[in-house]
Amino acid sequence: MKTASRWGTPNGMMAIVFVMYLCKVVAKLAIGRHVHSPMITGDGWHNVADLIEVVLVVAAVYMARMAPDADYPFGRKNFESIVRASIGAGLLVAALGFAGRSVAGLLALAPDLDRTVRETLPILPTHHPLRMGSDVAGWVIGCTLVSVVLSFVVSRHEIAVGKAHGHPSMVADGEETRGDGMIEGAILIGVCSEYLFRAPWLEYVFGLGIAFLISRTGVELLRGGWNALLQKSLGREVEMAMKKTCCAMHGVADVERITTFAVGSLAVCIIKILTDVPARAQDDLRKILKERLVARLAELGHEESQLHLRFSGTSMKRHRVAYAIVRDGKVQAIARSLEESTHFFICNVERGAVVRSELEKPPTLDPHGVLAWLEKKRVKTVYVFGARDSERRDSVLVMCVPTYNVRAFGIIDS
């Protein structure tokens, strides 16, 4: 039980993966070089990159435990991006090499064409004929078969341990190991076909295929690391999903800006939310929004995330309006026209609501004089009671409201 639990820990699991890749690298490079197989040698170099990645995963698990500080506010997770990009670049160079050796092998089948191509492309590698025979067949087939089995068994456990301990980089490494198993499966089919059909040229066709698969892994690693280092956005799909999650929440008026990027495997989202709720309610919003956004990001494949939510009020849209008032003693109502009005409530409006109103008597009751007075007070719109269409008089818009009750506009205490 003790042994099982030790290998079930992230460190124990990564030790197993490391030993597996080390054995594969030694076996494949030795056998591949001995039989001059670009397919097996290429896969051996691919496993060198995997070996470095295992070290990287262990380092990433260690780095992830280091809390952000004043010098590294987002932590040190981009270390992983740097190494990933380097491995990706290395794999691309290696894939180019295997492709070159495979092309050289295929060209060797047609010596005239080989000569012509080599005159144009002198950098093409020298071809060493593939060694086939009963003395090496057991080693070649045995090595590739054991590699396939190991890759599938180990990847399954690595993913399980990664998920159980919450290490996304370990899960990703496990998935890549499974991908390696598929490549090795293709190599096994190629090797068996060579011996079955006595066709060494199959080696080079499969070699080209393997070079393509390795270069694809290289491009993915390079792109992932490059995007994280240059702080590329997590993409429109993620940002739209974030916005939708925010807007589905009571109290959120809108999302003004979303900035997303990755620091290593950590997804960082900086979201500016527009809301008019009071400060105390913002604490509730912030807490639950964070929970929801973290869950949504995990659904989108970003298991680790860091959210920065900023709250801001919606636009004030400050302006000034006036209500034409007819007043007799303490009784007052909205006047039916400017001509009928005796007073005006001059109102400051914010977000559509009157925040300050002051009853004022115009210096003159002449409509032109009243309009000039309103204009001087920066009033854009004046309201009167009625059901007519709005009309522009000088620079002031005269609009009708359906009630004469002053209490209906929030300009006096009800």
């Binding site: 589905a248 929440m249 009571h250 109290g251 008019d276 709720v277 009071p278 105390r280 309610a281 509730d284 919003l285 807490k287 639950i288 929970e291 929801r292 007819v326 007043r327 007799d328 009784v331 007052q332 109502a333 039916r336 977000r351 559509g352 609501a353 009157v354 009671f385 009625g386 059901a387 009708c400 409201v401 359906p402 009630t403 004469y404 009750n405 002053v406 209490r407 209906a408 506009f409 929030g410």
Partner: protein, 259 residues
């Protein structure tokens, strides 16, 4: 549910209440009663109106305005107009008034504070959250909120937060901290919900603060509405008043007991 009442006014909150009320009335297939605040005193200022009285002109203009708003929102609802404040009217016990009201002056009718939302389901078809405790206020809430959920096709989530019983082990489930009367009320609520064929769940927590726990729970569960009733035994510190001050989720406050 017999009617949804809305006070007509032209403030942003008033316009939102009208939209919220119209949407709810359409969902419940009941009339929307629009109450026009009558200022009869002011009528004397329009003494030159001979053919048509000012209040008649006002009623027509308000009706025209409300019908335009409903048409713009494509809401299929029949509005009725009353020239009175809802507080002056004898409302049906199961009527719901839209717009924040004074809890201490609450009649037998209920009200919904829309909390800046323009429709009950503007953020999705979340459940109606019904907090319950040991008192009988949850019975009054059940009488109004459960039929409301049934008519709107919404599910219900019952929420209770309890003080920790220090005699129980630290890892005891929250249910074990619950009082006997609270458990009995839950059985009653479940029975009522089953009777109406509602989908329902019950969640029990040991939150630090009742109001904070409830508000955050409603947000976490994407509730469309929190339904609660003021207890008639509370002196100060009413949970209903605190929730009304702090919640961003619309709140249904059920009116006082008819008895």
């Amino acid at each position: 549910m017999t009617r949804i009442y809305v006070c007509f006014n032209l403030t942003p909150d008033g316009e939102r209440a009208l939209a919220f009320g119209a949407d709810l009335a359409a969902g419940l297939q009941v009339p929307l009663a629009v109450c026009i605040d009558a200022d009869d005193e002011a009528e004397i200022l329009f003494h030159d109106c001979v053919e048509t009285k000012p209040h008649v002109m006002e009623e027509r203009a308000v009706q025209h305005h409300v019908c335009n708003v409903l048409a713009r929102g494509a809401v299929n609802v029949r509005p009725e107009f009353y020239r009175a404040q809802p507080s002056e009217m004898v409302l049906e016990p199961d009527a719901i008034l839209i717009g924040a009201c004074n809890v201490s002056a609450l009649s037998t009718a209920s009200f919904i504070a829309p909390m800046k939302e323009s429709a009950l389901r503007s953020r999705g078809d979340g459940p109606i959250c019904i907090p319950w405790g040991k008192g009988d206020s949850c019975r009054r809430v059940a009488e109004i909120a459960l039929p409301l959920a049934a008519k709107l096709g919404l599910s219900v989530v019952f929420y209770h937060t309890t003080w920790i019983d220090p005699q129980l082990p630290a890892d005891a489930l929250p249910e074990r901290h619950m009082l006997q009367e609270v458990a009995e009320n839950l059985r009653m609520l479940r029975g009522e919900a089953d009777h109406l064929g509602l989908r329902h769940e019950a969640v029990i927590e040991t939150a630090d603060d009742v109001v904070e726990g409830l508000i955050r729970f409603a947000l976490r569960w994407r509730s469309s509405l929190i339904a609660m009733a003021p207890s008639e035994r509370i002196g100060i510190g009413s949970h209903v008043t605190q929730v009304l001050e702090r919640s961003v989720t619309p709140v249904l406050v059920v009116g006082r007991s008819r008895s």
